[in-house]
């Protein structure tokens, strides 16, 4: 299938999601379940990645800042801005594209192949609204929260690594964090987070929902969805940077 066929089918899938829920209580229950799966389920991996991401940033920035004319508090500024602008939204969302995206694609793919989606359709349930919409809503709610957590833990990881390796004291680090801080960076990071959350949930949902075949095809659709999601995240990252901060 050509790119335009896929894109058209993807847009039709998104359009088909908007219908009145058959039972608001069940839809809310499904939404909350997805919030737990996507949000709480990714807490561990996001926390670990963020702390190490900040720690490595601090150590490598210190390695590159060899001039004695540059204050050590600059390390904290660089770690802060790198984590907020790029590592927290982009790197964490690329990891989530693998974790959450593959889960969504394989769950929907398995339901398609075992005719569970057909069974829901026969009952008179709009499966795009019941199965896909809660996942997208849950991703848009929880992923920006995970990105904010990643920012905090990343900056803290830098502080931890800086003091543990003797690169700079915690006081110097804290002073550096407050120097030349631009609140717009956080806004920009959150715009990226919401955009990436939409990508991470909709693209795997498309590949899983329309899978045809057996377990091999489910695996393929899961892998393809992660690859396509990652590429779209990087493309969106560049476009948002070009539009919003240049």
């Amino acid at each position: 299938m050509s790119f335009f066929t896929h894109f058209g089918k993807y847009l039709l899938m998104l359009k088909g999601m908007f219908s009145r829920p058959e039972n608001a209580r069940l839809y809310w229950k499904e939404f909350m379940h997805q919030c737990v799966e996507i949000g709480v389920g990714s807490l561990g991996i996001v926390s670990i990645i963020s702390v190490f991401m900040g720690a490595v940033s601090a150590v490598q920035t210190a390695y590159q800042l060899v001039s004695p004319l540059i204050s050590k508090s600059t390390i904290a500024q660089i770690v802060r801005d790198t984590v907020i602008l790029e590592f927290a939204p982009t790197l964490v969302c690329i990891v989530l594209a693998g974790v959450v995206g593959s889960k969504i694609a394989s769950e929907l793919g398995n339901m398609r192949v075992s005719e569970q989606i057909d069974a829901l359709e026969i009952m008179g349930i709009n499966t795009k609204t019941y199965l896909i919409m809660p996942k997208i809503a849950a991703a848009i709610v929880t992923i920006p929260m995970l990105v904010v957590l990643a920012m905090v833990l990343g900056i803290y990881g830098g502080r931890l690594a800086g003091s543990a390796s003797g690169i700079l004291s915690t006081d110097t680090y804290d002073r550096g964090l407050m120097e030349n801080f631009m609140p717009y960076n956080v806004t920009f990071a959150l715009i990226k987070a919401y955009t990436f959350a939409f990508i991470i949930s909709t693209i795997p949902a498309y590949y899983g929902y329309y899978v045809k075949g057996g377990s091999l095809e489910i695996g393929r659709s899961s892998t393809t969805s992660v690859v396509v999601s990652c590429i779209m995240i990087l493309l969106a990252d560049y476009m948002l940077a070009a539009i919003l901060i240049t």
Binding site: S19, E22, N23, L26, S114, E115, Q116, D118, A119, E121, I122, M123, G124, I125, N126
Partner: protein, 153 residues
């Protein structure tokens, strides 16, 4: 009454249904029999809208299925029960939750009333006591019976 006229359906070059027509009268039990791969399931899925026929018309009580809106199709489907070849049970739910699902979705009954109905249909399909089992823990025959129970609940 369900009428289907000149239903044709192909998948690529393979023609599965080639001009099938019939009328199913209200209140009658109709049987579709055929050899393996002859298109029985494809016809059934065309009748309920899971497949769109390439040609032909399907009419429910005088109303053509193809001109029905999505909302009308949804209302019609709520009157249809279908048992799938693989049972199509929701594998993350127990037997009780599977059967109760249509009641949860479409009725405002309280939990006791729904549970009573679930136990009634479980008794009808001879699966009393299997409420808390998951589809992976029951046999193929039992899955089929759970599927029947969900279709008739």
């Amino acid at each position: 009454m369900i009428e289907f006229k000149n239903i044709k359906k192909s998948f690529g070059d393979k023609v599965v249904l080639d001009g099938v027509s019939h009328t199913m009268e209200t209140g009658m039990t109709n049987l579709i029999i055929g050899t393996s791969g002859s298109g029985k399931t494809v016809l059934q899925k065309c009748l309920v809208g899971l497949f769109e026929p390439d040609e032909g018309e399907i009419i429910y009580d005088g109303v053509s299925f193809t001109v029905m809106t999505q909302d009308d199709r949804k209302l019609l489907r709520q009157q249809i029960g279908m048992l799938f070849q693989g049972s199509a049970l929701f594998d993350s739910m127990t037997v009780e939750e599977n059967i109760q699902f249509p009641l949860d979705m479409f009725t405002k009954d309280n939990h006791s009333a729904k549970l009573k109905r679930v136990n009634e249909v479980l008794e009808r399909v001879n699966l009393v006591g299997s409420n808390k089992k998951y589809p992976s823990e029951i046999s193929g025959g039992m899955k089929k019976r759970v599927g029947i129970a969900r279709a008739i609940v």
